[in-house]
Symmetry: C2
Subunit: 310 residues, 2 copies
Amino acid sequence: MKRYCFGIDIGGTTIKCGLFDVKGTVLEKWEIPTRTENNGSYILPDVADTISDKIRERDLDREEIAGVGLGIPGPVNEEGEVPAAVNLHWGYVHIVSQMERLTGLDVKAGNDANVAALGEMWKGGGAGYHNVVLITLGTGVGGGIIVDGQILTGTHGAGGEIGHIHITDSVEENCNCGNRGCLEQVASATGISYLAKRRLAKDDAPSILRSREITAKEVFDAVKENDAVALEIADEFGKYLGLALANVAGVCDPEIFVIGGGVSKAGPILLDFIKKYYREYAFLPCKETQFALAELGNDAGIYGAARLVI
Amino acid sequence: MKRYCFGIDIGGTTIKCGLFDVKGTVLEKWEIPTRTENNGSYILPDVADTISDKIRERDLDREEIAGVGLGIPGPVNEEGEVPAAVNLHWGYVHIVSQMERLTGLDVKAGNDANVAALGEMWKGGGAGYHNVVLITLGTGVGGGIIVDGQILTGTHGAGGEIGHIHITDSVEENCNCGNRGCLEQVASATGISYLAKRRLAKDDAPSILRSREITAKEVFDAVKENDAVALEIADEFGKYLGLALANVAGVCDPEIFVIGGGVSKAGPILLDFIKKYYREYAFLPCKETQFALAELGNDAGIYGAARLVI
């Protein structure tokens, strides 16, 4: 009988590892550094070694291990291949077959944002739901979409890449993706500070933000202090993200939107700004779709990775 | 062995029926009227009767019939229930169990736009693909999304309802859905004639459209005659639809977009206007996604309905 599995979240600097039972209880968490030297060729052997060490240390029966799930910062196709993962210094890697050879265990792999969405569906803000959209508001805007319990990967691995939905003609700078007016430019942590600077430069309206370093956190702290300019900025952010999510609902109509990433630490007030505009723009049958904050933080990836093999 | 199946597309005025072999060859097509009297209570018995008549007429062995697929102008949930279908004068109908009782055959049902998408994937413009978005440009804008060969129904049956994506702040009238600035208001046949009237009213620029009845067909006929104003109108239409589809790609990343409905009779030139803006706005990995015209016309529904039971 299968009793255990490993959930591994490979990031650009750290590899997060989790040993889980098959019900989804994390038994142990640990990290190892990501060695990107030599075109990232040490990464998979390092992961295999740490799994092997853990099996030995805990004297686990390999027959009882359901497998190893991997979250990767890059696209993973249905055949378990990664065409390229810039942050790992990887070109093409057939990650599933390589890891199966290295570990002798069953392996599944997915894009990290999609895997995190699966984790939040399983044990986080989307628990109990099977149609979930996770939006991660960090340096960028990431997204992962779960339809009937399965990751929506997309043809080019771009399923759920809602950070690059065009949402406004008001931005003159290019996005990292090369387009202009992407959701990421106005709804990520970076995007919120962009909106704040743009608003503050517009006129001399008094604001506590003028004496502070402009970050997404400071903006929402100022919102909580009822700063009028900060409220305007949060409202503009909410309009872009609410509109984008209304349009996402018109495509995949989830049961719940789960909002995670550093910006979500602002708490429930963040959802108020998003929901206000979501409800204005959403198609009637979707207006009451649920919203929740993510709950697993940086562990969403290891939970989702583990879920891949159960 | 299963050799046959029925594909039934229930519309507000006509019920289209098809007898298929399980490879998807249509053996016979026919129609019966939709009797909406008495809260539409005759509709399902009428369908059961026409199936029964056909089985008798052709002396089919019921053991060889895979089942009956139904396309419905309204949402159908995963349990095979229709909460309401306005055009059929229906309130709640458990359509699958009712039809199974009436026919003694296996029954599956889906929303007509989704079922048409399945038909186009199976035997039409999306043949050979498994991740397909069908957009139907008729009186409204309908949509159906196929992911890995399966219809993306959505939590409220609104999966693929891209006609109600908010796409522009430039429209002052309300959409039938109650919102404002929906794709349907500027990209359906009605929407194109709205754009045409708005453009013609803006100034006195000469155009052959000024002497014609303003319809989507006339606009694209004038485009083919190189009428400058018609080109502007088609360009504006292309901008809205191209942008909307770029955003759809950022959610579900299909292999191909298939464009159907009456407006698609304009032919390949229609795709040129859409693709121009799609490629501008789409996220890099999705910029080369394929576009095709639908091929099954009004038969997409019976093909897709048949496909439901195979």
